[in-house]
Symmetry: D3
Subunit: 248 residues, 6 copies
Amino acid sequence: MSRLDAYATPWTDVARHLAEGEGLALLPFGALEQHGPQLPLGTDTATATAVAERIADRLDALLLPPVHYGDTWNNAGYPGTVSLSPETVTAIAVDIGRSLAASGARALVVVNGDWGNRQPLYTAVRRLNAERILPAIALDYPGMDDAIAQVRTSPGAAPGLNHAEEVETSIMLAVEPQHVHPERYAAEYPVFPSDFGTRPMQLHPFSPSGVFGDPSHATAEKGERILAATVEGSLAVLADFISGLPAR
Amino acid sequence: MSRLDAYATPWTDVARHLAEGEGLALLPFGALEQHGPQLPLGTDTATATAVAERIADRLDALLLPPVHYGDTWNNAGYPGTVSLSPETVTAIAVDIGRSLAASGARALVVVNGDWGNRQPLYTAVRRLNAERILPAIALDYPGMDDAIAQVRTSPGAAPGLNHAEEVETSIMLAVEPQHVHPERYAAEYPVFPSDFGTRPMQLHPFSPSGVFGDPSHATAEKGERILAATVEGSLAVLADFISGLPAR
Amino acid sequence: MSRLDAYATPWTDVARHLAEGEGLALLPFGALEQHGPQLPLGTDTATATAVAERIADRLDALLLPPVHYGDTWNNAGYPGTVSLSPETVTAIAVDIGRSLAASGARALVVVNGDWGNRQPLYTAVRRLNAERILPAIALDYPGMDDAIAQVRTSPGAAPGLNHAEEVETSIMLAVEPQHVHPERYAAEYPVFPSDFGTRPMQLHPFSPSGVFGDPSHATAEKGERILAATVEGSLAVLADFISGLPAR
Amino acid sequence: MSRLDAYATPWTDVARHLAEGEGLALLPFGALEQHGPQLPLGTDTATATAVAERIADRLDALLLPPVHYGDTWNNAGYPGTVSLSPETVTAIAVDIGRSLAASGARALVVVNGDWGNRQPLYTAVRRLNAERILPAIALDYPGMDDAIAQVRTSPGAAPGLNHAEEVETSIMLAVEPQHVHPERYAAEYPVFPSDFGTRPMQLHPFSPSGVFGDPSHATAEKGERILAATVEGSLAVLADFISGLPAR
Amino acid sequence: MSRLDAYATPWTDVARHLAEGEGLALLPFGALEQHGPQLPLGTDTATATAVAERIADRLDALLLPPVHYGDTWNNAGYPGTVSLSPETVTAIAVDIGRSLAASGARALVVVNGDWGNRQPLYTAVRRLNAERILPAIALDYPGMDDAIAQVRTSPGAAPGLNHAEEVETSIMLAVEPQHVHPERYAAEYPVFPSDFGTRPMQLHPFSPSGVFGDPSHATAEKGERILAATVEGSLAVLADFISGLPAR
Amino acid sequence: MSRLDAYATPWTDVARHLAEGEGLALLPFGALEQHGPQLPLGTDTATATAVAERIADRLDALLLPPVHYGDTWNNAGYPGTVSLSPETVTAIAVDIGRSLAASGARALVVVNGDWGNRQPLYTAVRRLNAERILPAIALDYPGMDDAIAQVRTSPGAAPGLNHAEEVETSIMLAVEPQHVHPERYAAEYPVFPSDFGTRPMQLHPFSPSGVFGDPSHATAEKGERILAATVEGSLAVLADFISGLPAR
């Protein structure tokens, strides 16, 4: 067996897969967000989709088509970024969960690719669970931070901030190299105030290019290692999640 | 010139395109909806994307990545269909319009691929215009009905109902033939009550397969003719829409 | 038997009627909307009420008092028009349906008299049915278009647009002739852009008077024929609707 | 001059009246609520309309058609009562106020006929004023209590509770005598708990008939005196309200 | 036995108290509202808390910590007043009621200290009861008006308006004398328009100091008598409320 | 100078302080949440208030009375916990910010004492800033983690989880020792699944007592050191926040 792509599959096959298989549905939740002059707006969606595909392969799960739009208010000062409100992000995930429950799915696994989606997806997942609509979990790339610490050779711009630099460029070189512009690599290390990260801030005053770090250290191999570790980290978390699901 | 794909393009190029070009953004709005045993769940998204791509090519417009989920309550009785509430569909389109306005776009053109999205997208477009957020229009395939009348050789199941039959199968043969299952073609002509179409009804009680008509008459050439006419019909409507936009 | 007017009847009689009769409640949903210099603001309410009265007579139904206000954003540019938001229209119909269910009614039939109410009433009816609050249907004058095609002698201003012209003036001559001002009849045939009807537009830029067509061809007899056909068309649709109601 | 009835008047006349006159719009806000076996469900609407008509006559104001539905949760246990939620009542009044402001009205005067509407209309009026949408006031029959104290000859069922007894029956004998059923007069004096009136309670557990007092003392003359005093009380309040309106 | 203060008590003791005792929870609902130059912003909260403490003592009830913020729009024109919207006040009380129901409480008694909270708390209590979440009641100081009539020696500024004058100053002298500034006592008797009290009005145009009456007549003894009468009035109302609760 | 307590101060003094001083308002946001058998339900409010008092002392700020209720869904399975929905928490903070802006405050500083409030307060602060209502920041005890790492002598139950154990008990021994029950100290080290912390989970299935760690190592001195470090960490963050405020 292997994953089933909902987008490309008739309902009759999807219905059978949900009824006879594990009943897991994976939803990549991305964003249309600036990632510097060298990476495309779809970077977060591409990454979340790649991670979700690999997880779905390993779990024989149903792969849903990605949500291309997220809450990316932090980057909304860069033209081309298209941001949803947090309430809309929450509503999308809750509606999808409710619909999957009616389709006979056992659980929804959201693979989140955008920092700004964390809070609204947390809210959605809590509601899906608390109101007993459908067991759900939102994964924020478990295992990725450790892998990053191992592979990165350029410093980060701020703790926990990996945006349009070595890490994300490496991942895109692994996933969609045709959309990467290496000739535009240019490092940027903004000076942040001490309250950066402690309150909601938009990023465009700090970096004109949208880069936060140094993309020139990126390689596809680093990206591949990061992705692989993220998939393993996700599977480890999901093992417990799945074992805790009610039996059919 | 030609269209610019937002998904695959860095923000710097998109910002320049919006500032220097026509400033039009095209959004394909699809659905994950049953289309019988022979067509994939992504049929509406695939069709809306194909139409939007061609329009964007002709208008040098920015093509946004599709929304893969819509309000498809009518088909929600078929497992695998994943439906959003109408309020969520409206919110997505309004949020995208608001964000595009902040990015310097001059107008949003939604190419709607799903019948159930009509009302919530109408509401969204009205709000975008009435509250002067951004000039917007939602296209429901202008010109398609005439083209269908010319090419179809099998009867429709009900007036205005083209679902998973000759028409939609022809379009998918033109757009994504690899996702069509001709070996599963099977006509279905349900008996409808006289109040069908006059009030909200779900479709699954009428057709076990989800087919409404006869897909066996489908050909890629018919699909191509329907698509071409829809693109021309859309461009005709957009000519007036664009000429009515405020000058920059 | 005959219809029962809720406005003029004590609750004890209404309760008995709902319990012992068919249990149908008819709600005329109108608008306070400009209809040119020759017709009153209450035209849509008057028409919907007349149709609802006749249907209620034929079905021994409970006739509710009309809702005098609707979503008439399209005409909001003419002073005197008073418009509700679509959300408010939906809320009114849902609340009434919920209350009727608690009163023992079997179904709600909304007779809609205003184009702008179509979408919000569709949303309301879908919710009433989907959430199993009360079986409901909203009638948008079934049968009226055919009758219009037979009686009208002046051209329409645009396909499907019958506003303050021969048709509506005829109906008001049949229903409330004392509120019609024949001395003010003045035809107006605006020039519309090609995208008229494809997106939300307000009407006042197109016709200073609010007339769209030629009221001078109006006669009470034409109005009577249109009304009679609309009542028959409504009864035909309702026959199936009623036969599909759960038995008591 | 005299009042102008919006329902029966073309927009052109209404627009002129609003522009050249005082610019006051009166809205009777009623309810479809049980009033015992002897009075019709429309009693509150009939009363509010009668009061509003007389005020409008005195002020040369625009009289809007009544809202026939209100928040009548307290009586929702009697079948036939049709209640809106408080949020819907608020939304109706706010929407109407917003629309009147766009039509050039100077102020909205709501004549409230239903106890349950008091709180949602207060909320609406506060919003209309606080957000500077339109100056507005909701009248809860000023002057009526004093008049009642003078004319009533039967005791009330509870302080401040005049429901379907001598007072309301007298008013309806003055306003719509054809809808009163004197042969059904039957007094009812429920025993109330001491916390009655201190918290939200529904009325049906206390009076099977819906009468709270003794309708047999009702006369049209008493009703007329109550109405006349209420109109005078309203005009006194409105004198200050109007004098405080911003000059045109 | 005596009251239990939730703020200062571990959950284990509270859980036992709710399970084994009467199961009543008392919530003082205050406001941060101007009370002239001589009384603190917390006056309403202090008063409601004092009343709630005494009631809780008498009923062996659970005393919840106060809500320090209310809807005090009427006083929002005085800097320092901090007002919530009515929707937020309603939401707080409904959420607390829902949570108490899950904790095993039998009923919620809100002791309201702020005029502006009356309507939103009424809405909350109605929802808690109507949706059968938890039996609830909101007390607006029953018995206080009679006690005021007996003790006051200075006239009120308007009927029913006791704000920052003899009455409230007396209560604060009894409850928190350390926060009263007698050296600032200064009477103020504004001239009100005749429509005062008939519609939503803010108070700051009428009294620059925020005083409405004469605080110089205040004594702690008067305050104590008012408080004692309010507690007795509350207990009388609660006796019936409690006797009407479903048995455990 | 020193802090000003809004609760205990007349509006006239508060208005002068806001106008002439720094214009900072501090809001302790707590919760009524279980903290084991040895600590009171008000622990989070007590801690946030203590921190806020010390910050306000150092900054000559206005100290607002605490919000005693928060979003504490994670602990809602322990009776006595009283939780608000996240939407209500957000609404409270936004309303308070809006009201402070009208009072002339320059900024709102929320001192958050409850983990569950983090997301809804983040949403509130983002809205206050993004909609330019009032500059605002929510502090989640900056500097506390480092101090904890230095003083704790018992292991934590899980990374980042300090609940009703050595840390919180130490803080309460420093702040409100009279409400601590040392005779009830009992360690609890639950076994957590590997997906703990990755998705919304309620805590009561893991620890019957509500303790997560070992309170017996608690001392007032440890608590004092933690508080002092938290105050210093907060002041460091606030230094940049304040320097970034628009000048008056």
